[in-house]
């Protein structure tokens, strides 16, 4: 009981620490809000005219996809933070304290949930301003937002693992973007999969991002979901189930300097 209480309080203390960093490093804020907003504007106004999305306005098609992409990269704050802690020796301090050992990770990922909420507010506001419309029930929209937050949380653990496995914040930046970024593009996020070359289509269709984007689209646009919603939930939970223990293992083993 005492262990649980300490675990929760340690997590909250470290989540607060993670959040305090954001207004003090405005470049981070730019990274996870301005950049996705620019993407929205570029895709809608530059590529939008050339991309055919039968049955949808492009802005309606795009918003769920680009929101999934930006929420996935929201966890990047965790990777940067952890690799920075490693480099500066702060991990040593935390590991020498009588705190719950996993709290550094649970605190960071919990902090990401808060930044993800902030990100969703920004993205939906921009979307609504440029003509995006929800065309589903309130219950479905709420379910969609919860699913997005769960996806964001899952990828915070992926980024925690990346942060603990890379030698510097710059390296974790490189890993994160060179691996994950293309994967988010080979999906249904920006264009209909049917417009891709036939050899690429199966890859895009089985990409978990496609499943997640399809689920978000179904919940926000009120179109038939097929099995995308429960499949996206399974993927998300599977990612947490794999990467949370992996990060915890990495954290225990990590030797600074």
């Amino acid at each position: 009981m005492r262990a649980l209480r300490y675990g929760i309080s340690d997590t909250l203390v470290l989540a607060k620490r993670s959040l305090l960093r954001i207004p003090r490093q405005p470049d981070l804020l730019v990274g996870f809000t301005i950049q996705p907003v620019l993407f929205v504007l570029l895709f809608v106004y530059v590529f939008g005219g050339a991309i055919k999305t039968p049955g949808f306005d492009y802005v309606d098609f795009l918003m769920p996809g680009i929101i999934v992409q930006s929420i996935v990269f929201g966890g990047f704050v965790t990777a940067l933070g952890l690799s920075d802690d490693l480099k500066k020796g702060l991990i040593d301090r935390f590991r020498s304290l009588p705190m719950t050992r996993s709290a550094l990770l649970t605190g960071r990922t919990l902090g990401d949930v808060v930044t993800n909420i902030f990100q969703l507010v920004v993205m939906f506001t921009v979307g609504l301003l440029i003509g995006f419309n929800f065309s589903s029930s309130v219950g479905e929209v709420v379910a969609g937002i919860l699913l997005l937050l769960l996806i964001g949380y899952a990828f915070s653990w992926v980024f925690a693992f990346i942060g603990l496995s890379s030698s510097s914040p710059e390296a974790s930046n490189a890993y994160g973007f060179t691996i994950l970024f293309p994967v988010t593009f080979v999906s249904s996020a920006f264009v209909p999969v049917a417009t891709m070359p036939s050899w690429l289509q199966p890859i895009a269709e089985h990409n978990p991002f496609t499943t997640m984007v399809d689920a978000a689209r179904a919940l926000f646009l009120g179109i038939p979901a097929g099995n995308s919603i429960w499949l996206a939930s399974v993927w998300t939970i599977a990612i947490i189930a794999v990467f949370a223990p992996l990060s915890a293992w990495r954290y225990r083993r990590v030797v600074t300097r």
């Binding site: 960093r21 702060l90 040593d92 301090r93 020498s96 705190m99 300097r257």
Partner: protein, 324 residues
């Protein structure tokens, strides 16, 4: 007190791949004392501290801090220790106050006590004015003081300081030394690692000299200095033939027998102050002209040359890097 030392290690071994960082280290630090672990870079000092602070598991041997085993009772050990180091592990994006409050919360002191303790420490480390500034605006000396304050938040009975003054200017070093001495007067046991003989001499009650993962000498700083030869007056005469006369003239200020070496007259002295003036007067009275005169303080290199026959620089490590 003799029965239960604050820190005790038995045949501690640690390898990193092929590199033997510790090769059987036995240490014993009495409660309430300052113990200095003296050695060059790469000697194994930091490895020993990392094992004692539960950050690293030993390959062989055992270590206890206030009676708790660092492997089996790691959680208990963490309640007993504070750690501060050469890398000043404080969060740059928090203020000084927020850093200390956070550490207090993580020691489970509760919000009120954490805040009170943070304010108290900021004031005793002369950081009150900077309490609400982000740490990234702090100077190196301020960071080091905050780091030390963070290690003291929970008033741990045993404090580990890993090269606390490396890279600091003289003034900051002296300030930090004063702070460490004040702590021990309150009963804290301190194990500090250092590359500086003068630091060990100034602070430590006992010193262990560590080299290539082994303790090669242990004793009080006085004992070590006696072993190395202490401070020495070094004189070159204009006329090298008159060395014996000079030795005779200087005999009464020497703490040990003066000797002649490579044309220099070397005189071990107990007291640095006034020595040069005294020597100059005596030699002048004897009509012996001086070409050069100085007092040399033994350095870590002298200790190492004396104890091991090799210099303190990790030459083997350098050679390894070059051969790659």
């Amino acid at each position: 007190m003799q029965a239960n030392p604050a820190v005790e290690t038995t045949r501690l071994h640690k390898n990193y791949g092929d590199v033997q960082a510790l090769r059987g280290v036995d240490l014993r630090v009495e409660t309430g004392s300052i113990f200095g672990l003296l050695g060059p870079n790469g000697a194994g000092k930091t490895t020993a501290v990392r094992i004692l602070t539960t950050l690293l598991l030993p390959d062989e041997g055992s270590a206890r801090v206030t009676g708790f085993d660092v492997v089996r009772d790691a959680a208990k050990v963490r309640e007993q220790i504070g750690l501060a180091g050469q890398y000043a592990a404080v969060d740059e994006n928090l203020t000084g106050f927020e850093n200390l409050e956070m550490v207090g919360r993580l020691y489970h002191l509760g919000r009120g006590r954490s805040r009170a303790r943070a304010r108290e420490l900021l004031s005793s480390f002369d950081l009150s004015d900077a309490a609400d500034r982000l740490v990234r605006t702090y100077s190196g000396g301020m960071r080091r003081r905050l780091d030390l304050a963070a290690a003291l938040v929970a008033r741990p009975p045993v404090l580990f300081l890993d090269e606390p003054t490396t890279g600091l200017d003289i003034r900051s070093r002296i300030e930090l030394w004063d702070a460490i001495e004040a702590l021990v007067s309150e009963g804290t046991t301190v194990l500090l690692t250092t590359q500086y003989l003068d630091e060990a001499d100034r602070l430590a009650d006992r010193v262990a000299v560590i080299d290539q993962g082994l303790v090669i000498a242990e004793g009080t700083p006085e004992e070590l200095k006696t072993q190395v030869g202490g401070e020495r007056l070094e004189i070159r005469l204009c006329d090298g033939q008159r060395g014996e006369e000079a030795v005779a003239a200087l005999g009464s200020i020497a703490s040990d027998r003066p000797f002649l070496e490579d044309g220099w007259v070397r005189v071990p002295v107990a007291e640095r102050r006034g020595t040069i003036a005294d020597a100059v007067r005596r030699l002048d009275d004897a009509g012996i002209a001086i070409d050069d005169i100085s007092v040399s303080t033994p350095t870590l290199d002298d200790v190492f040359l004396n104890l091991t026959g090799h210099a303190a620089e990790p030459e083997t490590a350098e050679a390894e890097v070059q051969s790659r």
